[in-house]
Amino acid sequence: MNLLIRAVTIAALLHITPVVVLVKRPDAVHVLLPGADAYVAREVHLSAADAHRLHAAVDWSPEDGVLMFYGGTAGSTSVGALEFVRVDTPHGPIEVAVGFTPQGVVRGVVVTKATVEMKPWVLEAVAAGLTDHYRGLKPGGEAPGGAAGIASRVGSLAAYTAGEVDKGVARALAAYGAFYNHVRA
């Protein structure tokens, strides 16, 4: 009986909770591509060699080997690009939107999805200023350090979640740096 109770407890603790939308995608697009009035989706289908290179750099393979970038323009002027990156964690997936300026630096980061379980940790991390730590990062430059930046102000689970957001931003930086402007349509 003791074994049964323990097994039930472990199974309940391991249960992945459903994903909820924290910020709707259109709202994230408004924030990360401000002023844009036209958008273009840029699908980068990676060769096996490039997929391997990306995996070696950030321990990540995009779904189906396709990177999706969304560019925004206001009239004929580019206002930048953004990516939605999914990070699978032991507590379920989170989705991070990373916006870039036309100069290729991070304009902002929005956590758009998380599981029900992770939502309060994400909200705590964001309220502690997590996403401020990513602004101005460049591909190939400093590694995202949002988790370290807020560690002293949040609980351990929010700090852990911030580390997962760091991973998402690192993936977006690597993908953008290597593939956004370097492959012709």
Binding site: A7, A11, P26, Y39, R42, V44, H45, L46, E63, G65
Partner: protein
């Protein structure tokens, strides 16, 4: 028989009733979750588990780019919830032990019912086989053919029907049967 729910102590009957009520509640919300994330038609289940992986081409020899215009409305389109291989491994790891424990709990209830031995054994087989069929369907949909989505639906329905049969028999025999004590 030593273990007969009809003649069991009222505390045992109450425990079994509470267990069945709790499992029933979790099954109702399980069905709602399926409706939200996968659906009840073979097409929707196939879209969830097979996803684009079924039609995935080999990676191109050189990295290629395709561009197309988008409107803000495109960003707002509801996404099809998909379960990729990693998530399916995680789901299987988490759900199968839990389903096994639920089947075991319901199987213990079946063991206390007044049923012919073969029917009881058959019911216990259904309780355990249904989640196997459910997850076998998911894996075969992902790895073999979207047609196996039907196995997932059959497994899901079999879980629900198995629970309803056990619950109905148990509640009837414990609280309504003339032979109860």
């Amino acid at each position: 028989m030593l273990y007969d729910l009809r003649r069991a102590d009222i505390r045992i009957k109450w425990l079994v009733t509470c267990l069945l009520a709790t499992l029933g509640l979790s099954y109702v919300f399980g069905a709602l979750m399926v409706a939200l994330y996968a659906g009840f038609t073979p097409q929707r289940v196939a879209a969830t588990y097979a996803g684009s992986e079924m039609s995935m081409a080999m990676p191109p020899e050189t990295t290629m780019v395709m561009q197309h215009p988008m409107s803000m409305a495109d960003f707002a389109k509801p996404e099809v919830h998909t379960v990729d291989l990693n998530l399916l491994i995680q789901d299987t790891h988490v759900h199968v032990p839990m389903y096994g424990l639920i089947a075991a709990a319901l199987g213990l209830v079946v063991a206390g019912l007044s049923l012919p031995r073969r029917r009881a054994m058959g019911l216990i087989v259904v309780l355990f086989a249904a989640p196997w069929l459910d997850f076998a369907g998911m894996w075969l949909t992902k790895l073999a053919s979207p047609r196996f989505a039907i196995a997932t639906l059959a497994g899901g329905w079999a879980m629900g029907v198995g629970y309803l049969i056990v619950a109905a028999l148990a509640l009837h025999q414990m609280w309504l049967s003339h032979e109860r004590s």
